[in-house]
Subunit: 353 residues, 2 copies
């Protein structure tokens, strides 16, 4: 006999992350938008030199050293920065902290698939606004009454980018709501809207170490906003878990930030590889929104996406396929090294020609 | 002019963690129940040998390697184990997952001060049940209609322990509710109630690496329960953040578990130091519940706790003082090394005699 406790279990719609196959030498993993290059060289040294003895102590609850370094890298005051266990933690905390009205939170129908998962988890009403046929945001959709707005910019999985004026219009015309701009992919050639935090109290800019800083494995996300917004986030965070960023996370994160040159080098390399890959994919009959990210969201003019995905998998190349309305004929292909993309193109070439 | 967004900010009652002073050679930090000994020696080696390159990839979302090692250490099936970013994360997830009825969740008036913080955060009704005058749980208080029960055993900050039969009675008579047993301090001589998960579907046993395994700085908590309970926790966790345990956390955690001998040695040392400290404190006019933890919750027969706390602080010894009803004449003193406790006793001796 089962107890009644089951009646009170929170019902959720679980997020399905991209598959994490065991990485072998042959496998080319282009399915979860990871960076093909290692973290800044200093990160290895930090791990090597870390004194394990101090792990007996709690870490600094404010991740102060990391916040300080973010402040210095971005030129933004420390009291306008919030950190978390990956940008998912930061975004989840934003949903919990700010989306408590009865009005629906607005986001695109095709966007990061965690937004509706958080809304369901916290019983937040939401409304999905359809991207147009070219997967572009329709600004007017976000100028109606709402309980909050979330925009991934560049968008995922489409790779589409809107400019700062577009974002500013939405922020400016929604000063009674919090507008979250999820800039997980901002460092691959797009321009951050972070300057808006100086003009508007209601905008939050979220970024991550998982893509451009090659540190998905350490779990670091952060956001910028008005001091008021950051204070509200901190209060909620401290009501959930005082110590979320481990000492190893804080110290490796600091080190990664210190090496601006390396960061600029690897993002430039990925951008160059992406642009080259775009040309090759076009040649092979693919079309795609003009990505400003470390992935390309592509559809083929003849062969179904699912078929290509399976074929690539047989060749030990993993790409992401979403079995979802409007995008089930697309593949999201992460930009790897030049060598990896050459292999991808040659396998595609052999199959499609 | 401020936007209306502020009306919808979640109101919280923030948790106040123990002070984290900058640790110098002279400072004796006995205020946050950290372990005075370093983690198992293998942890240092894992950090030294960790290949930073792989940090570019996401960690395994299930922390599989850690769960496997926990399974082998405790002899409990992997599908009955859940991990999180410290036991605070595990406990917070439990509150969010299971406490969704209209009935109050029950816990002691004097206990881990995060329970009411989580209840407030998630709008969970709760009722505090008074410990008796000797800071003991009153079993009958937990045999009334409720929406869930949380028992810290041994309790914090009192150090009091109830035996397994006491816990079993509560679990058995509340099969319509989830009963959480928070065993953060179980490894210092007390006996875990983990065996109850084989008999009851509604009990969850929560433990942590922060105390007995000297790894507060890496943030590792875990719990055991029926497969049903663990599945429900996983579903909610994956709806919040797929990747919470960093690669460094998983790998150092695995290594710490492998060294059972070291674990037994340092916990035995702390127990011996605690028993010796009890005698000294008694001699100096202190009384306290008979602690089964790595701290002693003591009150003096003449001098107010607050005064002693301030005096100790001037001598660079930090202990925890709670300015709260019923316990504002007590100090929670973490068990440090023998040397640290000798210093504490000699400073107390000089002041009190």
């Amino acid at each position: 006999m089962s107890g009644k406790w089951e009646e009170y279990v929170r019902r959720v719609k679980p997020y399905v992350p991209g598959e994490q196959p065991v990485v072998t030498d042959n496998l080319i993993k282009l399915n979860t938008n990871e960076n093909p290059y290692p973290p800044a060289p200093g990160v290895q040294k930090v791990l090597q030199n870390m004194d394990a003895e101090k792990l007996r102590l709690y870490p600094n609850p404010d991740a102060k050293a990391l916040v300080k370094e973010l402040s210095s890298f971005y030129g933004i005051d420390e009291d306008r920065i919030f950190t978390g266990v990956g940008s998912d933690d930061v975004l989840g905390m934003c949903f919990l902290t700010f989306f408590n009205s009865d009005k629906p939170v607005l986001f695109a129908d095709i966007t990061y698939s965690f937004y509706d998962v958080w809304a369901e988890l916290f019983n937040i009403p939401y409304e999905k606004k359809m991207l147009d046929d070219n997967f572009r945001l329709v600004k007017e959709d976000y100028l109606t009454d709402n309980g909050g707005i979330v925009i991934a910019n560049p968008n995922a999985p489409t790779g589409e980018y809107v400019d700062i004026d577009f974002i500013e219009d939405i922020v400016k015309n929604n000063q009674d709501s919090i507008v979250i701009v999820d800039e997980a992919y901002i460092d691959f050639g797009a321009k951050s809207a972070v300057g808006l935090i100086d003009k508007y109290e209601n905008v939050i800019i979220v970024q991550t170490f998982s893509k451009s800083r090659s540190m998905a494995g350490m779990r670091i996300g952060y956001c910028f906003g008005s001091k008021k917004v950051i204070d509200a986030l901190k209060a909620v965070k401290f009501s959930y878990n005082s110590y979320t960023m481990s000492m190893a996370t804080i110290e490796t994160g600091v080190e990664a930030l210190k090496d601006r040159k390396y960061f600029e080098e690897i993002t430039a390399k990925i951008i160059a590889t992406r642009e080259r890959t775009k040309k090759e994919l076009k040649r092979l009959g693919f079309s795609f929104p003009d990505s400003m990210t470390n992935f390309i969201f592509a559809t083929h003019n003849k062969v179904p996406a699912k078929e290509i995905m399976s074929m690539l998998r047989e060749n030990e190349i993993f790409v992401r396929y979403f079995n979802a309305p409007r995008i089930d004929n697309y593949l999201r292909i992460t930009i790897g090294t030049d060598e990896q993309m050459d292999k991808l193109i040659s396998v595609l070439d052999a199959y499609l020609s």
